[in-house]
């Protein structure tokens, strides 16, 4: 045997020492990383880029808004990318902003979205991503106001959640999410919802991105620092100008209050009764959120997880015509109607809402004639983030039958 042949054999022996990482784990993580990278790229392309030097802070390689101005919302002279980045940087603890981007009113896409800023921040223990988003929510703040309730641990790997209702009725939520898998970063999130409808959200990771390689053990800001960032009065000028989307989320107070959600146990019991013949439901564990149930179901030897959410009088508290809004929300997915007038949208998506290849999530949304919205989701796996490809237990028609049954109406 020649030296080259010996060497080739030896390489194979050495390669056997490589870690035995399951291929599907690598594949799913790559999809998530790739998808997020694509979204970031689109966002940056939409907003443009420039260069800004900030006074009083250490900023290296900072970019802010460019000339792009999406149609439909004029730019602000005051709430610019400069303002966003300067204000965010001033609220960070001692450290260095090594990269940063900010986009003001009229500089983001879609045009009705709130101003944003994102930095790579290094406190000396590893550079990490911190991003800040703003929005306005409909008033008054209720149990259904987005970002005011702790995330269900069925949906995300929640490690801790602190929800504080302040004396004025504003809500501060601080959540710490563990890794969805060994390739995804930890994410700590703070969301402040003010009584004026302001919504300030900060997400930080223990990486310069949302995945590997990790730059530190935990994200850099602690709970107090996160709270200081989202609740600061320095954001007041932003919300003096940013009135939020004109429709369909009015900022004016509404008089209607949302109907209470049915208890999770009730949703679970009704859903199990609606299963097709031969399908067997198993214990779904703790059911943390009102109006929602999740459980494994087996049919013809295949097991998938079902999620069922029921919302009576859906969006009646903040929309003049929820049904018209629903009919318009199908996008590329067609809206169909059952003979009794229930509108149905079927959505099949991949690892994320923007990905359809391969199919991982089968969802049916049904708006009943009485305004009750029923959403039935199905995926293979025990948690949403572990969804795998393959034929699910129930067919799409069976999911539609489950979502459109009259049992859900009030």
């Amino acid at each position: 045997m020649t030296f080259e042949e010996d060497f080739s054999h030896a390489l194979r022996g050495a390669a056997d020492l490589a870690p035995d990482r399951p291929g599907d784990v690598l594949a799913r993580a790559a999809v998530r990383i790739g998808y997020r990278r694509r979204q970031r790229r689109r966002s940056l392309l939409a907003a443009g880029a420039g260069v800004l030097a900030l006074a009083g802070v250490t900023v290296v390689g900072v970019a802010t808004h460019g000339p792009y101005s999406p149609a439909g919302r004029p730019r602000s002279d005051r709430i610019t990318g400069d303002f966003m980045l300067r204000t965010m940087t001033s609220l960070l603890p001692t450290g260095q902003v090594v990269e940063g981007r900010g986009f003001g009113i009229g500089e983001v896409s879609p045009p009705e979205a709130g101003p944003v800023a994102s930095v790579i921040f290094d406190d000396g223990r590893g550079a990490a991503m911190i991003s800040l988003n703003t929005d306005r929510v409909a008033l008054p703040i209720t149990g259904r106001t987005g970002g005011t309730q702790c995330t269900d641990s069925f949906d995300e790997p929640v490690e801790s959640c602190t929800r504080t209702v302040r004396p004025d009725g504003s809500v501060l939520l601080i959540e710490k999410f563990g890794q969805r898998n060994e390739y995804m970063a930890k994410t700590w999130t703070a969301i402040y919802t003010g009584t004026d409808g302001r919504h300030v959200r900060v997400d930080e990771t223990n990486s310069r991105t949302t995945g590997v390689p990790f730059s530190r053990e935990n994200p850099p800001l602690n709970e107090e620092q996160l709270a200081a960032l989202v609740t600061s009065g320095l954001w007041d000028p932003l919300f003096e100008e940013f009135i939020g989307p004109p429709t369909p989320r009015p900022t004016a107070p509404v008089t209607r209050t949302p109907a209470p959600l049915p208890p999770a146990a009730e949703v679970l019991e009704r859903a199990e009764r609606q299963l097709p013949a031969g399908a067997e439901a198993a214990d779904g564990g703790a059911q943390e959120s009102a109006g929602t149930a999740h459980f494994p179901v087996t049919l013809d030897g295949r097991t998938s997880t079902l999620t069922v959410s029921v919302t009576p009088h859906w969006r009646a508290d903040d929309l003049a015509d929820p049904r018209a809004f629903f009919l318009d929300s199908g996008g590329s997915d067609p809206v169909t109607r059952t003979p009794d007038g229930t509108a149905v949208i079927v959505r099949v998506t991949g690892a994320s809402k923007g990905s359809s290849d391969p199919a991982l999530h089968w969802n049916v949304e049904a708006l009943h004639p009485d305004g009750t919205l029923v959403t039935v989701g199905e995926f293979n796996g025990d948690r949403i983030w572990n969804a795998g490809p393959g034929s699910p237990a129930l067919s799409t028609d069976q999911l539609i039958a489950l979502a459109t049954g009259p049992v859900w109406r009030g």
Binding site: M1, F3, E4, E5, D6, F7, S8, H9, A10, L11, R12, G13, A14, A15, D16, L17, A18, P19, D20, R21, P22, G23, D24, V25, L26, A27, R28, A29, A30, V31, I33, G34, Y35, R37, R38, Y183, G211, V212, P213, S332, P334, T336, R337, T338, P339, V344, V346, V348, D357, P358, P389, I400
Partner: protein, 176 residues
């Protein structure tokens, strides 16, 4: 129900990314492990980075004659880019990262990995493509954007260093 659907009219997808990545992931990890001289953490990072890059272009890559070869080349380029980024901040050292010990013939295989790790990155890539991937000189040259002459010269030089480092141990290591 007057339901319509557009799902059935969608054209068939030529090759599923998840299936492809799941099938090729193990081989890519092994390749990366050799390229990095036995650094399993870096090997996984490089494979993840490569698969994410491939995912972003999957619609086009899935229609290539040999997506697997494209993936291997992407991995090698990711490795070389990583080395180039690090080279400006690296210092010469005689301390090497410890590689986890294994039960069977660890010393010989680890000797090989360490010897690989001491080669210049482009030389390592040449050896891995030629003797692990079984690519021809021309294929290796195309993948690394080198001339065939450069591949032969790097291959010859690197093999000489491996021979010097491993000596007679190689016969034992290869099982011959």
């Amino acid at each position: 129900m007057d339901r319509t659907t557009t799902k059935s009219s969608a054209p068939p997808k030529p090759l599923d990314f998840l299936e492809f990545a799941a099938a090729r992931g193990r081989h890519l990890i092994r390749t990366a492990y050799l390229l990095t001289g036995g650094d399993e953490y870096l090997a996984e990072d490089l494979v993840q980075e490569s698969l994410a890059r491939i995912y972003l272009k999957w619609r086009r890559i899935s229609r290539l004659d040999n997506p697997a070869a494209y993936a291997q080349t992407t991995l090698v380029n990711a490795f070389l880019s990583h080395r180039r980024r690090r080279s400006s901040t690296e210092r010469v050292t005689d301390h090497f990262t410890e590689v986890a010990a294994v039960a069977a013939d660890p010393a010989l295989r680890l000797t090989l990995l360490q010897a690989l790790g001491e080669l210049p990155a482009p030389d390592r890539a040449v050896l891995v493509l030629r003797y692990w991937e079984d690519r021809s000189v021309e294929e290796t040259a195309a993948a690394l954007r080198l001339s065939s002459t450069a591949v032969r010269s790097r291959s010859s030089r690197a093999l000489a260093r491996m021979r010097a480092a491993l000596g007679e141990e190689l016969e034992e290591l290869s099982g011959s």
